[in-house]
């Protein structure tokens, strides 16, 4: 059985190292989890003991097969709860993350699969991130950063890379949501800002925005 703390470490390693496959440094984990490197070392030893991570002193850690499975299951729970909060409980997409951080640790063999069915087996969460199915398989959606889209092309917003509350609120304010049609009107070389057409309105957005919005070509 994994503790809440162990699960959070597993999740951090999963997210930092390309789905847990790459080696992740002690410091990177410490930063991600807002803790000290010495604490990370302690926990990583414990996780290695439990065969959840591969660890060699000074060489960083990666997830074992069991570790990846554990991580994917937590991600599944997190994202399903986010869908529930937005679709059923009137949460906005900038409010769900903290609550999902708690709900993702609830242990029940039945709960998540029933929730999945109740939500009609969603494939993506409110931020456009894919939800793994019961067996851990992700539905691949080929998305591209808005900054890569050519001028005069229209595309559809399908996700965000930055899901900080501030960024999401900014998008809300300018009526940019998943499903929004965006036409790239112009790009400015000097500051890499771009002008887009959204809901009939012209809007100039910074490099940060275009680099953190995922779109699909139409």
């Amino acid at each position: 059985m994994t503790t809440l703390t162990e699960e959070n470490y597993i999740k951090a390693i999963y997210h930092l190292g390309k789905h847990g496959t790459e080696n992740v440094s002690t410091n990177a984990i410490a930063q991600e989890m807002d803790t000290k490197a010495s604490s990370v070392t302690d926990m990583v030893k414990k996780l290695a003991e439990k065969d959840l991570v591969n660890y060699k002193k000074y060489q960083g850690v990666s997830l074992t097969q069991t570790g990846v499975l554990t991580a994917v299951n937590i991600v599944r729970k997190h994202r399903l709860w986010e869908v529930f909060l937005v679709n059923k409980l009137n949460f906005s997409w900038d409010e769900v993350h903290d609550v999902a951080e708690q709900l993702e640790h609830i242990k029940s063999p039945k709960l998540i699969d029933e929730l999945d069915a109740f939500l009609d087996f969603p494939t993506h969460d409110p931020h456009g991130d894919p939800i793994p199915d019961k067996d851990g398989h992700f539905s691949k959606l080929d998305k591209v950063k808005l900054s890569k889209v050519a001028v005069n092309t229209t595309c559809t917003c399908v996700g965000v890379d930055d899901s900080s509350s501030d960024f999401l609120k900014y998008l809300d304010k300018h009526n940019i949501a998943l499903g929004s049609k965006i036409k790239v009107m112009a790009t400015e070389p000097f500051d890499e800002s771009i002008t887009i057409l959204i809901n009939g309105v012209h809007l100039s957005v910074s490099k940060h925005v275009s680099n953190n919005l995922f779109v699909r070509a139409n």
Copy 2:
């Protein structure tokens, strides 16, 4: 801020001492929580320090006003989650308790009130126990134990006193559910068992059953 452990102690004191008003003994808490009396003493001191309980050495504990408020809020969360699990996620009434024990500790100012609205402000949980509203007020429902009902009277099942999985499954097996009409046909003095008519079927039930089924007169 209350920890998960503190919340569980508060809840135990609330349930053992008539809504936290009566004094509860250290041993009673230890038994309820499946822990040692010495651990209870430690925690009770901590709770007294936080002004959640009234405590005098060797005299037992009761909840303060803040303690009652905390307890009622946990009970509210527990019962609302139980309704959610039964009404929305196809859980049966004998499966919900353990999951609700986990969910009741989720902290979110918005979550519970939205859940309450989503469930259409239920007044009772799947076991017939009242759900306090936002302000901690319980809707009183005058219920009586089936064992108190006179012969030849018909009544409606509105709750259970024993909500152990075994007892609930027994009720399921004999199609006794909240809302079921029950007519008391006969009482046997020698073992205090009674014969009831339910769904057109005659059934003899033990003293335990009649003492743990709440009914409302019709």
